[in-house]
Symmetry: D3
């Protein structure tokens, strides 16, 4: 499957924390931590777990720019 989302960052899962409906998944991508808030169901269906290779996928219109 090819996806229109411009940002598909390869990394490794370092934390999966499930709440009642919403889970937080943390990836390490080139030494940077990225946090994703997704459904518990997605965690189960993709069998996401620590140490697994995965991608953080982000649509360009969801990225802001900041400067110091």
């Amino acid at each position: 499957m090819k996806l229109s989302a411009r940002n598909q960052l390869k990394g490794r899962i370092v934390e999966v924390r499930k709440g009642q409906t919403t889970a937080h998944v943390r990836l390490e991508v080139n030494g940077t931590l990225i946090t994703a808030s997704i459904t518990n169901e997605a965690v189960d269906e993709l069998r996401l777990a620590n140490g697994q290779d995965a991608y953080a996928v982000i649509k360009a219109s969801d990225v802001m720019i900041a400067t110091d």
Copy 2:
């Protein structure tokens, strides 16, 4: 200013392309390219330009996870 967004990735701007209302800004973050789609006004107000240090800022609820 401190921001609730969980993902604030430091990098350098490598491309700024403006359309009629919407601009695409590309950052290099640790060797990875990240594309942001923002307003032309934001580009002007922050004076975004090639070679400038900047952050890609992404809310956790806008990050998806993919696996191979």
Copy 3:
């Protein structure tokens, strides 16, 4: 690739309209039209064109509910 996004609706592309940076792509999914606003680059990279099979992909946190 498997994706955490809960909504992956199979359909057929019926319109691709590019602006200067942002394109509008329209899919027919089970008789319903769905409009996506994506980058021109994504249109080019995925070679999106009328008549092509494709999926509309939407993260659950981007779906609202309305009632009459």
Copy 4:
């Protein structure tokens, strides 16, 4: 009320599951399941329940396109 969001898909609610703050609501739209992640408060205020007619509302900039 008329809304700028391009995607307003009529369906029927088939599941409402509340967490501590966030609820998942599932609609059947023309035989396709659509999942929405919304606040518990919205569920209460709109009195969302199984069997109810409702719309899934999605802004065009939140729709991605994928191809096989």
Copy 5:
């Protein structure tokens, strides 16, 4: 129509600027300017124009918090 989006801010349109596909619409809400980036089609369909009463509608999961 009742909508699950938690933020529906009543105001008045003070600017409508169309690009090739994407328009910027500015509302004044209680003395504060709010900018929306929507499709040209939505502008046409809702006949948005200066001086018109309108609402800015924002899903709670799209709101961040910042502190000084």
Copy 6:
């Protein structure tokens, strides 16, 4: 830090409610209530609490327009 997000509305926090992973934070901005759904971690890191001055920050592409 300067941010590309077009909407940065100054107000005061009037409610912080944490779930297992996701928190709801409510601000009063010029007499209008704004609800944000953010991570518990952000609440902790920014030490968000009732009575505190804060900003609601919203990207223009996440704002819709509605008319009566």
